[in-house]
């Protein structure tokens, strides 16, 4: 399975990359929402996108909205990974079509927990 890590911080991309690689994903990175959309339009459509909210060029919420508007990308699971922890923001992201939400800071276990909820990572019996 392919995960796309979308964050303008290279350090955060590196942290997230390491976590999802350990969970068995291949990884492609993008530094903002527009770069992510461009890569998807060029054929790199991930099974999972980990999406920061505040990024230059195109932010995470706009990215989520664009992905949800495209029927061909219906299969992409969208998980916000962001410092935006206000209740209203969480509701906005879910309404726009995000499936899950992780608030920074987080532990690697938190990413695994959420991917288990989404059925993308198995849960031990």
């Amino acid at each position: 399975m392919l995960a796309m890590v979308i964050d303008d911080s290279r350090a955060m991309r590196s942290i997230l990359r390491r976590i999802v690689v350990e969970l068995g994903f291949d990884v492609v990175e993008a530094a903002d929402g527009q770069e992510a959309l461009d890569k998807m339009s060029a054929g790199e459509v991930p099974d999972l996108a980990l999406v920061d909210w505040n990024m230059p060029v195109r932010d995470g919420l706009s990215f989520v909205t664009e992905v949800r508007a495209n029927k061909e990308w219906r299969g992409v699971t969208l998980m916000m990974v962001t410092t935006e922890g206000e209740h209203a923001q969480i509701v906005r992201a879910l309404a726009a079509g995000a499936h899950e939400y992780v608030i920074k800071p987080f532990t690697p276990d938190a990413i695994m927990d959420k991917l288990q909820i989404l059925g993308l990572v198995g849960v031990p019996a």
Binding site: L94, Y101, I103, K104, P108
Partner: protein, 282 residues
Amino acid sequence: MTTTSIAPRTTADHHFETIGQFVESRSAILCPPDKRYLFEARLRPVMRDHGIADIAELATKLKGAGSLVLGEAVIEAMTTNETSWFRDIHPFEAMRTGVFPDLIEARAATRKLSVWSAACSTGQELYSLAMMLDLQFPELQRWNVSFHGTDISNEVLAQAKAAKYSALEVNRGLPAQYLARYMERDGSHYVVAESLRRQATFAKLNFIAPWPPMARFDVVLCRNVLIYFDMDVRVRIVRKIRDVLAPGGYLILGSSETSLGSVEGFTRTVFGRTTVYRKEQR
């Protein structure tokens, strides 16, 4: 005239910064200076176990080669004590698909359900279940549903009662739709909605001391705690739980504790991937 004083950075600050950068790069956990007291408390046992005299030595060793075991211990120290929401997922699925549909039918006359989270820690198990029942079984909003949590630690009980969790804690397994629906922001923390909090009570309980008189429960969750006791003590505790379970009520143990269900008076039932124990009707 207003003056602002900035405390000079000490050598210790520098060492904490080094350790903080290490933890952050390995775990994504941020270690801001204002959390240094927490940081120190958690690192103290690691330093003792590794024969490390002070924070300077720890910082030096983490920077050096061959610090894998020490590095893991530091990360572990910074991340343990976080119990997760909907822990293990499967038992909650068993409750959603099997246990509660059965109990809702069986208790339709009294419209009363009582749940005991027997080693509730900071409350995530109890509130996870409260949220799930509210969302999945809206008819229960017209029932008298109560949740009782017990633990041996006053510290964890205080947090369970306050129902207040950090972002780090909320991230551990609480689905976003539950976060949006049942959590309210309080500064940098999140608090469980009052409608659920008022259904919950908490009390201190030591399993191996005499138990106070208890109400009858329809469901008892006692997961991943009996493993810390000898087998004869475990059996004794399961018998005591049986005595406070209502006939037809369910005991849910941890997945590695299934052999305890052989205690008399229970019928094993499997829902999905989870074995639960139903107290026989008598």
